[in-house]
């Protein structure tokens, strides 16, 4: 007769959970990918207009936001290293830094969009509607894509906030940090999307 060892089955499935997040990430890639495709086709159709409209965008703020998000990706990745090494305190500090950087991104976005609104450049404005077709399309895509991305930044902040709470309550530690890892993956996706948004909207003038 075989002796049966009583394995305590974990309630969570680390690999399955990670797979789930990756599958969700694939859907997000197609979501933004679809928007990029719209951009690609209309850029091909209205090259001059896109070129002209893009000159309205502030490359400095765009670059600054890119740098901010890249650093935030590093801090969230470092937070995983910290939790794996059992350093919960450092993990929390790094996650807090990530949220701060995300908020810096949002503040920049606020000023950037605010500046556009000052010039009456917003979806549905009479100024925008009187622009050449291609330029109107460019701004529509600009607001849609950066807006949807900003929404994802906020969702990411919530996920990271929950992660911090879980670590504080000792529900996440070096033996179980799946939620943190998945929140980190989501955050890297947010950064990944911006890595492509930035050059296509700000740099191809």
């Amino acid at each position: 007769m075989t002796t049966s060892t009583n394995h305590h089955h974990e309630e969570h499935d680390h690999l399955g959970s990670k797979m789930g997040m990756w599958l969700f990430i694939f859907t997000e890639l197609f979501l933004f990918g679809g928007l990029f495709l719209v951009y690609a086709v209309f850029r091909a159709k209205y090259t001059e207009d896109f070129h002209h409209a893009a000159e309205e965008l502030n490359v400095f703020i765009g670059t600054l936001n890119t740098v901010v998000l890249l650093i935030s990706s590093m801090t969230v990745a470092m937070s995983i290293t910290a939790i794996q090494k059992g350093d919960s305190g450092r993990a929390i500090r790094l996650l807090l830094m990530t949220i701060v950087l995300a908020l810096v991104f949002m503040v920049n976005k606020y000023f950037e969009w605010g500046h556009k609104f000052e010039f009456k450049l917003y979806p549905g404005s009479p100024v925008l509607e009187n622009l050449p077709k291609g330029e109107l399309l460019f701004f529509g895509l600009y607001f849609m894509m950066t807006g949807l991305h900003a929404l994802h930044v906020l969702v990411g902040c919530v996920l990271i906030g929950i992660t911090i709470a879980q670590i504080s309550k000792k529900k996440l530690n070096e033996h179980k940090y799946t939620f943190q890892e998945n929140a980190g993956l989501y955050w890297h996706l947010v950064d990944f999307i911006w890595i492509f948004l930035f050059p296509l909207l700000y740099l191809v003038t």
């Binding site: 890639l29 890249l70 799946t178 492509f196 050059p199 191809v204």
Partner: protein, 92 residues
């Protein structure tokens, strides 16, 4: 939970440095008037940055081949979507 590979803090710092350098490159290249090539160059640099984030920050390098294959597959499918869309658009 199985023993997972732990990336060092230092390695994350190196990856960030590479990403920042590529960002600087991207912004610099935008200054040159490359005409039709400018989109290709921008996308190329962005792709290298994106791959770096996927490989190191998202830990794909240390994941099983199955994950790597899934991610590669998704990008291939997406590339096909773009190609076929343009087959339609360009030859209407």
């Amino acid at each position: 939970m199985e023993k997972e590979h732990i990336s060092s803090y230092w390695s994350h710092g190196v990856v960030l440095t590479i990403l920042l350098a590529l960002t600087a490159l991207s912004v610099t290249m935008a200054e040159f008037h490359l005409g039709a090539l400018s989109v290709a160059v921008a996308l190329l640099v962005a792709s290298v940055k994106g791959t770096t984030v996927l490989t190191y920050f998202m830990h794909l390098k240390h994941e099983s081949t199955f994950f790597k294959a899934m991610v590669a597959g998704v990008f291939i499918v997406y590339a096909l979507v773009i190609v076929f869309t343009f087959f339609d658009y360009l030859f209407r």
